[in-house]
Amino acid sequence: MGALRDIAIIAKWEVKKTFTMMGRNVLPLAIVLFVLLILVTGFAAQSGMHLQDGMYRVAVDDPELGQLIADDPRFEVYRYPGRILSWEDNLYDLIIIRGQVYYRGTDKSRSALKTVERNYGKYVNNVYNTADDLFAAYPLWIDTQSVKSELDFLATQSGQYVSAAPARGGAPVPEGEIAIIPTPSPELGVTMEEIRAELIQTGGQDTQISRYTEILSSGSSTMGSFRTPAQLSPPLPFDSIILIFVFVFPLYFTSQFFMMSIMNERIERRGEILLSTPVKTSSIIIGKMLPYFIGMVVICGGITAWIGASPIIMLPLIPVIFFFLANALIIGMISRSFKELSFISIFFSTVATSYLFFPSIFANVHVISLVSPLTLIVLTLQGTAWTLTDYLYSTSLFWLTGAVLFAIGAKNFKEERLFSEKSLTSRMREFLSEVISEKRPFLSLFLITGFTIPFIFMVQLMCLVLFFNLPMPYSLILLLMFAALVEEIAKGIGIYTLYVRKPGFFSTRNLLLACGATALGFLIGEKLLLFVTLAQITESVFGSILFLSIGALWLPLLLHFVCVLIVATCLKYGGRGWFVPGLAIAMVVHCLYNLYFILGWLS
């Protein structure tokens, strides 16, 4: 109970401090800026975005057509001088004479042509919208019905899409039972005037933008699912980017405040008072974090309510929030200066965005997309159900890494760490060193290596997602090398930290023991996490590289042991300078081992 009361007190204190600091000077200006923002948004909506104005030059002989082209500010329209002077002077991208468009062989000219084509199509539609007999002007309507299909990972072992191309001649035959699809009605079921109103309304808005707004609003048009061919825009495979903007960016913004609050405690030893109280460090951290956590949950809840989505969305978001806060804590604790804080946080947010965004592109296509919690949000918005296993699968790494980072942060939240100024890498080493116990170094090594596993999986999955796009042999080779390197680094850092702290510690006996502890910790951590979460991926080719060796346990144990031993021996006899070469050698050994088994596996 005492701890809870402490947390509440610290949280209250944090809120009060933030508000007194922000309140006096910032609030009035913030309100002014907010009002300005609304005004400017209105202005921008009225005048449009002028980013691409005047990109193309067009010469036209007919003033009516010239006006039509000039309606799009991307075009600068010139009066056609009477004869083609010369293409060579590069003056015009397009020339329009007697209702015929002429273009050049450059990319720019072709791009201009495409834009004219699109604009002309829009203009034609606007003319037809006023036609008396709407069904003569729009004789064809397409009713799009979406069908859901999920692939299992095994089907796309090669990392490519299934190409639906059976042998020539025969029509494909579905397996299993065939559900009866009712014959669609040939009628639209709406009156002509209703359609006209809808056409005029949709004709006004830019389909490029409205598609994105439609993702968020479960908007219902009177027309239902059918469109004219011109209105048909393909389904977006990249709609999750909008979710990044809507859900994840506010989280970055808020976690910045937490980062700054931690940093502020360190400036001029201000946090000393806090540390001198009889409150446990974990309570201090949780107390300081709580207001931001609640704030972020409220923001996400607000957005969810605003777009009218199901509150289930919050479930995958909470581990993301937790993960961001854990990283903010560590970033706030290791940065030496504000500029370092800025750059590290920008770096972190780019990498985290990639991790969240890239896999979710493949939502509905591939099981790999479930690596990112954003996919669950995409699925929820679509109204597709997901299971508890899916949830564990996509969020467990966020929970685990977040928790490990918090533990490291809490352990290091004390005077000598907070108020010293050292370079980034040596600070990180000190943080780790703090976690390695003096009395039981081997147990610590065992645990540390075990706890690096979630991080390794995160990095490796990120590589998997990125290399997924490369052609087959390259993606495998790159993945092979990266996977080995990441694992060797993870195993090596514990030993390295211990070596730097106490170079004399590594007698031959201790060296062997340390390597054994590390290898064992790695193996057990890997297997534990594998069985909990990643069964699906482990069954594919990619999985076999990342998490080879489900079967015999002594073989991987030996591999891990040998690799760590290489690194440790290099350290012992070569000193700190030999750490990187040692890693390289270990990586090669690891790669060869993997290659042998994959080659064997393939043949």
Binding site: Q52, P229, P234, N264
Partner: protein, 359 residues
């Protein structure tokens, strides 16, 4: 103000950036983005214009045709993109679910010259890359069929648009507008935003780390110190923007007027840096200053983008080589704003400096 003092301060800041290796992180970040630019390119472009995806596939897709005969069947047969099978609707949809087909088209029994519209039902897979391509290809065929139907019903159409014959362009040009009209201005302008965030860090740091006293006790005045920091940030902008331009060129994107682009970016970023410096001098505390500045940045950027001939638009025009005399007008206006802001910042810094000297 002494030039020597300014350069001393600027050098000090550079040393700080280099010794902390933060600048390395920034470069790493740039490389990270550039490395995956091919992926970004395909991804973002298709977001921007999904129809560009269709050029990525050159093999035939299987589709099922169900329902009644129509000219559409002929068009599908003719097209090199599809292999059409006549199938029962239910069988087709079941095959689609198992990904043995890419789409199923159902055509009803409506006469081409009927008073009613022809309503085709199309079954596709949800939200997937391949079906995006198939949809684009099907759209072309639907448009052809629509033109036919329109011609049959032509006597019933009263309003006719001005005719314009547009030739079918042979591929290419899909990425042009995206690369030159969005990617280049945003990437090249990113260093300006980073630099203006940096100036806030540099100034508030002196306050919050209490290093100001030491600095002022040297011959360098407070105003000189602020200008030195502004200078350091300003120098970073053309360097980083230049790196972007080189990276883009390595990726095969030809950029015209690279020098003029750097001039425009450097000048425009000066406005943002001065704004950042003003905010930092006023608040002297990072959280508040960054919060106010980032909100102000959104307002300023949105306002600028809504104006015709804004500096970002100018970057686009310079890159494609359509910028005319107006670039010098814009440059003149930007410089005028800089002089105004510069005087404001200078006076403010002097005022702040006096209070420090007396207090």
């Amino acid at each position: 103000m002494k030039a020597k003092h300014l350069s001393i301060i600027a050098k000090k800041e550079f040393r700080g950036l280099i010794s902390e290796r933060t600048i390395l992180l920034a470069i790493l970040l740039q490389l990270f983005i550039a490395l995956f630019s091919s992926f970004l390119m395909v991804g973002l472009t298709s977001m921007y214009d999904p129809s560009s995806l269709s050029k990525y596939s050159r093999f035939k897709y299987n589709i099922a045709y169900a329902g009644n005969d129509s000219a559409l069947y002929g068009y599908l047969e003719e097209s090199g993109d599809f292999r059409v099978y006549r199938m029962d609707l239910s069988t087709g949809v079941a095959a689609l679910e198992q990904r043995k087909l890419s789409a199923v088209v159902y055509v009803p029994d409506t006469a081409p010259d009927s008073a009613d519209p022809v309503k085709i039902t199309m079954y596709t897979l949800t939200n997937d890359l391949q079906s995006a391509i198939v949809d684009v290809k099907l759209k072309e065929i639907y448009l052809k069929y629509e033109t036919d139907l329109r011609a049959i019903r032509a006597d019933r159409i009263t309003e006719k648009p001005v005719p314009l014959a547009i030739p079918k362009a042979a591929g290419g040009g899909d990425f042009y507008e995206f690369v030159y009209g969005l990617l280049i201005p945003l990437l090249v302008f990113m260093p300006a935003i980073i630099a203006s965030a940096l100036i806030i860090d540099l100034i508030t740091e002196e306050y919050q780390h209490d290093t100001l006293e030491t600095l002022i006790s040297t011959p360098v005045t407070f105003t000189e110190m602020v200008w030195g920091k502004v200078l350091a940030c300003e120098v970073l902008v053309p360097v980083q923007a230049g790196v972007w331009i080189v990276l883009l060129m390595i990726n095969g994107i030809a950029i015209q007027n690279a020098g003029l682009i750097l001039v425009q970016v450097s000048v425009t970023s000066f406005i943002l840096i001065l704004l950042g410096a003003l905010v930092a001098l006023h608040y002297r505390e990072r959280t508040a200053a960054q919060f106010i500045f980032s909100t102000a940045l959104v307002v300023v950027m949105l306002f600028a983008l809504a104006l015709p001939d804004n500096p970002l638009n100018l970057l686009t025009r310079l890159a494609v080589g359509t910028a005319g005399m107006e670039q010098w007008v814009v440059l003149g206006v930007t410089v005028a704003i800089i002089i105004g802001l510069g005087i404001l910042m200078h006076t403010y810094a002097e005022k702040v400096g006096r209070t420090h000297q007396s207090g």
